[in-house]
Subunit: 295 residues, 2 copies
């Protein structure tokens, strides 16, 4: 299967799995369920779930039984977007080409829909019929909470909020990226590795791979914020500049940022060779895919 078809088929199966795990729209109160569904099905690229599944497959050859874990990480990602867009945070009106959650459902319901998705992620991990021991499932809970919580994503988001309007140092921009976007991408890969029953050295190599592509991913986002057009990106172009945020582009310029992203992807792919995987090809392609978005 070529990579484009592979992506498309994985996205479709992840979507179906999310659908199975979501409450039906007939549940009361409908606005809560609708708000959860609205953002979950807002044309997400499903990069985190696909990374999780691809990593598990690369390690053990299996991926389909792990779809619930893929749903869980997408729920976390989606909640973080809903809360990030709130007026008290980034105050964005547009996300993935459509109005943000609070623009449609109001601020209170957007906060609650985010809280519900965050909570549901852990419900799914603890309830799903995944063919792994309880010890492994508990490890997934720990991994996801660590990636998403104050030790990971939220720490990055807080730093981002603190540094708005400042010319943040390069060190700070790295810190923000490593945590705000990097932690959850790393969590996706690590959860996939754990589900694949990776050996410790495999987990280490895959974690390093994830760190590199996580940073590359965010550099690409910074570039897109400058070079992209609003209708292509689905979010407001130039919003980083408008919010006076330090980014890789403001620190190093466009060309050096592109070079660095390319370099990180090459390093990530090297890491895979140390991991002794059954088949690294999809993970290599996913790394390329992440930077290809800007070329």
């Amino acid at each position: 299967m070529d990579f484009a078809s592979y992506l498309e088929s994985r996205i479709s199966l992840v979507d179906q799995a999310i659908e199975r795990w979501l409450p039906a729209s007939t549940e009361y109160p409908a606005i809560l369920i609708d708000a959860m569904r609205y953002s979950l099905f807002a044309k997400g690229k499903r990069i985190r779930p696909i990374l999780l599944l691809a990593t598990a497959e690369a390690v053990c050859g299996e991926w389909q039984p792990f779809l619930p874990a893929a749903c869980a990480i997408e729920m976390i990602h989606t909640y973080s977007l809903i809360h990030d867009d709130l007026p008290g945070m980034d105050n964005d009106d547009l996300r993935r080409g459509i109005p943000t959650n609070h623009k449609v459902f109001g601020e209170g319901h957007a906060i609650l829909a985010g809280d519900a998705l965050l909570t549901e992620a852990f419900y799914v991990l603890a309830s799903a019929d995944i063919p792994r021991t309880e010890a492994v499932k508990l490890q997934l809970v720990r991994e996801l909470a660590q990636a998403a919580g104050w030790q990971g994503m939220i720490r990055g988001q807080t730093a981002d909020l603190l540094n708005e309007g400042n010319q943040a140092s390069a060190e700070m921009v790295h810190f923000i990226h490593r945590n705000k976007t990097g932690a959850l991408l790393r969590g996706a890969v690590r959860m996939g590795a754990i589900l694949g029953l990776a050996a410790p050295n495999q987990l280490d190599a895959l974690t390093a791979y994830a760190s590199q592509i996580g940073l590359a991913f965010q550099i690409v986002d910074d570039i897109l914020d400058v070079e992209g057009e609003t209708h292509v990106m689905g979010k407001t172009a130039g919003s980083d500049q408008a919010a006076d945020k330090s980014t890789f582009v403001s620190l190093y310029g466009i060309q050096a940022s592109k070079d660095q992203a390319q370099q990180l992807v090459a390093e990530a792919q090297q890491k895979l060779q140390q991991a002794g995987l059954l088949d690294a090809s999809r993970l290599i392609e996913l790394a390329n895919f992440i930077v290809r978005r800007v070329w």
Copy 2:
């Protein structure tokens, strides 16, 4: 030990356990950690953790090893208060006698501190060295997520938000109370029962006990909102009326509400007799304590 000393000693041990599970203030970014700590140590009554510990003790005689689970449920409760108080929700300035989280740290940081506490609760459950099997710990994760998520607390909070400014029906007020406050109190008792390795019939009886005291608890809150004084309650008295919320008091009047709360507590205590507990006395006292707040 008399009940007052019992409460005091449990509160103090829960506080110490929370302290152990919280990140240190020296972690970056300090504002995130400070905002988490601010609300966690804002003189909470620790009713949910104490209920959890008392239930486990009533079933199996042990409680101390379960302190981490008690912390987890208090983190969930605390996050829910932070988010409830936000301008986009109830817009409250005062909670437990001090300014609400967003008044001190700003809206964005209050949202993130809430998210971090919610996430950390699951991290604690999955990481703590609790002398129970992984299957039991996973059951706790499921139980907490169900109680706190769209099937429980958040559903109630959403209904509450929807019914602001309406004269809600008695059925709706019950729905809101059963979910908004009831679900987490029920979750506390059920988690304690699960940790105590309760038999299915014990879990059922304890769940019924929890449902009754949960409703009594909320009725008492409605009464306090009318009868209490701001400086005694630590939150703005009359806020339900100001928000035009239907409550037990607006539906049935003060006296009938008091009678109903008393009746619920009596029923709750009867349920305990069917549970075949080692010692039900603390759970009986806790039920009394919940209504005594208004007499």
